[in-house]
């Protein structure tokens, strides 16, 4: 059979298409991830520059110069979440996860930082030891 036979041609085309598809599967998500990472770092750098511009360096915020960035226009109120004992959290909270922990009037509570993350999860309205508190970081 000649190397330019229709069957060989079809096989070669099929191989090219398969390789192209494989490349797309591998390369496109990698590129998207890189672009996303780049975009995020640029965004953070811009936020820092804007913060530095509005606050100046080394000055606590005042009502006059307080212009925080609105990450989301109207973040939802975070409250009414599940709270369990340390024993009941076995397997649900990993030992090496960082938490924000506090104690009020003898009652202790922890909020995993991996939960307190994202523009709509910044402030946790809670009650502890008879006090109404907001946990944030």
């Amino acid at each position: 059979m000649n190397e330019f036979s229709p069957r060989n041609y079809a096989r070669r085309t099929l191989r090219c298409v398969a390789l192209g598809a494989l490349a797309a599967v591998c390369v496109l998500p990698a590129t998207a991830w890189l672009l996303d990472r780049h975009e995020r770092s640029v965004r953070i750098a811009n936020l820092r520059i804007r913060e530095a511009e509005t606050l100046g360096v080394g000055r606590p915020p005042t009502p006059e110069n307080f212009h925080p960035i609105e990450a989301v226009p109207r973040p939802p109120v975070v409250s009414g979440f599940d709270v369990v004992s340390a024993i009941d959290a076995t397997g649900k909270v990993q030992d090496n996860e960082f938490v924000l922990g506090t104690e009020v009037n003898g009652q202790a509570r922890a909020w995993p930082l991996n939960v307190m993350t994202g523009p709509d999860r910044e402030v946790f309205n809670d009650t502890l030891g008879g006090l109404s508190i907001a946990a944030t970081w």
């Binding site: 530095a52 080394g58 973040p75 979440f81 004992s85 960082f98 509570r109 922890a110 993350t117 946990a135």
Partner: protein, 185 residues
Amino acid sequence: MIDSKTESLWSHILGEAMRGPMIGTKLETIPSVMTEWSDWKVSHPDTTVVLMPRATSAYSRGFHNPDSGLLIGLLTSTGSKSWQFPTLYRSSPVNDTVDGIPVVVSLKRETFTATIFDRRTGGRELTFRSRGDDIIDLETESTWDLLSGLAVSGSLQGERLQLLPGIVSDSAVWSLYFESENSKR
């Protein structure tokens, strides 16, 4: 932060309303600790914990490390004071004074957990230093857990230091707010 009742805008680092009907109002800062869950539940066995889907897994062991550029800071009546993690890593515990209050600042090396306690108890001022893996006070040689602030052995066993509202922060961000009044030991 915005409160949904008055729509006032709050600074989360100062706990103070900056705009809206509540302007000038200050919330009380409740002292807290940022540490690994394993440490927290050992020092607070009766603790409860919030369960919600994770948004990330980034804040796990290694998040606090010598290169993370973190510090622990304290707001004072005149400004602030802060202690860099690398400094604490070398010389924890640090005996210091803030606003006339003697404090001990420590960093647990395994998990990079920083705390600030008032180092007065029972009317006396204590001075802390490390001895092997333990933290002791020079005055009574009692051994202390500087995550819970509890004396675990020695003549002061059962005594507890008062936790102060230290804030763990990125050094670069902290310096935007407080650098000019910052002092590092």
